[in-house]
């Protein structure tokens, strides 16, 4: 068995695929660079990310897939599900070995496993477009904190850029410790230390715009006014708005003070 160690980026993974073919490795597992298990394996192969190798794999995939199927692999990568690299690799092998487009061969388990991961990411990206809650700071920056299971920032960037073209904003993923920032011209990726206790009363008065608390309370007031008590159905509520998102959603955080 060979352990293929790459830098954790999509390009890195693609380079790894290229080299697996190049060196005809048979039995493989993937590991990200910092993986502690590295030494347990007899054979390690270290991959140095190489854009031209990555592009050759992409080209091969592009020829054999629809644009949706092609993007599906990247979305699966972002899902962070267990052993996704191996699933992606088996899928890629199947695609590259076939002369026709096999992405709808749902009877094949690699096809549907990949599809499932793709769906997971897509669903969470869509949810984040919905559940991001911006707060306005004193210096007129709208910022939001998220903590998704999948790495969705790359997928939601253009949505927010189009929607909030006239305000500066930042969306920060505390789990992965990076954010995307829009400065009225471009969106860039940034890493920074973020105070996660951002819901406290102090934080509101120190950091936030004077109207911020008022709008948060208005939103809470709205959220509770539209509920129809005689139709209450908490099961449905939680199904649509899973609890793991609540701690960053204004309407689910009790008023401070």
């Amino acid at each position: 068995m060979t352990q293929v160690i790459y830098d954790g980026t999509y390009e890195g993974w693609l380079t790894a695929v290229f080299e697996i073919y190049e060196f005809k490795f048979q039995d493989i597992v993937f590991a990200k660079k910092e993986a502690s298990a590295v030494l347990l394996f007899a054979e390690n192969h270290f991959v140095v990310t190489d854009v031209s190798k990555a592009n050759r794999v992409l080209k091969g995939l592009k020829q054999r897939l629809s644009s949706e199927g092609f993007e599906g692999i990247y979305k699966a990568f972002l899902s962070d599900v267990n052993q996704i690299e191996e699933i992606m690799f088996r899928f890629t092998k199947y695609v590259l070995s076939s002369s026709i487009n096999v992405e709808e061969d749902f009877g094949n388990s690699d096809v549907w496993e990949l599809r499932r991961a793709t769906r997971l990411t897509r669903k969470e990206a869509h949810r984040m477009e919905a559940f991001v809650r911006f707060k306005l700071t004193k210096d007129q920056l709208y910022y939001a904190i998220i903590e998704p299971d999948c790495d969705v920032l790359p997928l939601i960037e253009s949505h927010f850029k189009k929607r909030y073209a006239d305000q500066r904003w930042l969306i920060y993923d505390v789990k992965r410790k990076y954010g995307i920032y829009y400065d009225l011209e471009n969106v860039s990726t940034i890493e920074l230390q973020f105070n996660t206790k951002s819901n406290s009363a102090n934080h509101l008065t120190e950091i936030c715009d004077e109207k911020e608390e008022f709008f948060q309370n208005l939103w809470r007031c709205y959220f509770s006014s539209v509920n129809i008590e005689s139709r209450k159905n908490m099961k449905l509520h939680i199904q649509h708005m899973p609890k793991r998102y609540w701690k960053h959603m204004i309407e689910k955080i009790p008023e401070t003070k």
Binding site: F106, F134, A165, Q167, F223, V226, N233
Partner: protein, 420 residues
């Protein structure tokens, strides 16, 4: 904005608007121009869900709950003793923008009680939409209620700034409207619908010739019917809905289970449960008609004017038409596969795609995410899966209900008590 007063108004005017169910913000593309605010994408985003499980995508409020009319089913009716309030034009604009910028909402749904007269009210609704578009460069979603009796000129203005307009019929038949809303007139509801239908069609024609033609209610019009306040059957309700889809080109008809809010003895007493399951069945039936190629009369008919409450209408249809089954999913055409209980629209398409690669077996269907335990009664495979074939429709129904019993039993018994 004076904070406390606005908060109080929001409480009153959101509370009064919550019974209107048309909340969707889908179907409108309005691109962000000149680095403005907002970009309506064509698919709706539900930003939150209430504890009753309904989606919140728009700031849905009344401009005012003062009303000169006295519709029995409405909390804002003149004779009801409730706190009254009215927003100013600027307050609604500020609320919408403040919420939108924080990503709480997709846009505004603005409705109103009628104060003074129809035009006076409509004119204010239009002014808000106009201000949002022209002064705030707002490209999010705006849904305005068209006030019955408002002038064509105002309706036209409304169509220019709003994405969707709706006139609620409220009652499925003219008789019940007369009974419960004596100040209202069926004609006054139908007339603006017709006007809007023609204007929307005209805009579409123009758009074909000139893609820069100014938008006019690009998301079309919708309407709402209150269900369970009066005695209509599902046949009458779905028949009316069908009329709106066919004759008025409605994008959506919403069904709103009546929430008892009045001691008026023309209406179900306070405490009567909201007919949630019936409402859900109506949406399912509506969906079958719009997306699955079913005809209203296949789902409800004179011999069976009401939908079953214990099973969904697609299963109901299948059980009444066992002669159409079993269906061989490896050869049947898409239209027929869509009609198999347990197989949805998208799954049917996946089946048709996947079977080009190999013959599909039950385990493949499970992988595709199909409710196989439900579908199996209606499927034929070449190999040993024929055994279900000789069950009667009652036996199939029992077995399927048993399957879902643990999941829904409580809901059913509650709900059924109401209709016994």
């Amino acid at each position: 904005m004076v904070n406390e007063r606005v908060m109080e108004k929001l409480g009153i005017l959101a509370d009064a608007a919550k019974y209107d169910v048309s909340c969707s913000s889908a179907l409108s593309k309005r691109e962000n121009k000149d680095k403005g605010l907002g970009n309506a994408k064509g698919y709706g985003i539900c930003h939150a869900f209430t504890e009753d499980g309904r989606c919140v995508s728009l700031l849905k409020i009344l401009l005012t709950n003062h009303c000169i009319f006295d519709c029995a089913y409405c909390v804002s009716r003149k004779s009801n003793d409730v706190k009254r309030a009215a927003f100013t034009v600027q307050e609604v604009v500020d609320l919408t923008i403040g919420f939108y910028r924080r990503n709480y909402i997709e846009g505004l749904f603005l409705s109103s009680g009628i104060f003074d007269n129809a035009d006076y009210t409509m004119e204010r609704l239009v002014r808000i939409a106009k201000k949002l578009r022209l002064e705030e460069n707002f490209n999010g979603y705006i849904h305005l209620k068209a006030i019955p009796g408002a002038s064509d000129e105002l309706l036209k203005q409304a169509g220019i700034y709003a994405d969707r307009l709706s006139v609620n019929v409220e009652m499925p038949t003219e008789q019940s409207l007369k009974l419960l809303a004596p100040d209202k007139n069926h004609k006054d509801v139908i007339k603006p619908m017709e006007y809007l239908k023609n204007e929307i069609a005209g805009y579409k024609e123009e758009k074909k010739l000139n893609y820069k033609a100014p938008l006019f209610a690009p998301a079309g019009q919708s309407t709402q019917m209150v269900i369970g306040a009066t005695k209509e059957s599902d046949l009458e309700i779905l028949g009316m809905a069908d009329y709106f889809y066919q004759q008025m080109n409605m994008k959506r008809v919403y069904y709103s289970g009546y929430v008892p809010i009045s001691y008026d003895n023309r209406l179900p007493a306070i405490g009567t449960p909201v007919p949630i399951i019936r409402e859900n069945r109506l949406y399912q039936a509506d969906w079958l008609i719009r997306y699955y190629g079913f005809n209203v009369n296949e789902i409800v008919g004179l011999n069976q004017p009401n939908l079953d409450l214990d099973i969904d209408p697609k299963l109901g249809w299948a059980l009444h038409n066992l002669n159409q089954f079993p269906v061989d999913i490896n050869t049947a055409d898409l239209e027929l596969i869509k009609r198999i209980p347990g197989i949805g629209y998208l799954s049917a398409k996946k089946i048709v795609a996947a079977r080009q690669f190999k013959k599909l077996f039950p385990e493949d269907l499970r992988k595709l995410g199909i409710a196989y335990s439900r579908a199996k009664y209606f499927l034929a495979f070449a190999t040993p899966f024929q055994m279900q074939k000789d069950l009667t429709s009652i036996q199939i129904k029992d077995q399927i209900l048993n399957l879902q019993k643990s999941k829904y039993k409580n809901d059913f018994s509650n709900q059924l008590a109401l209709f016994n």
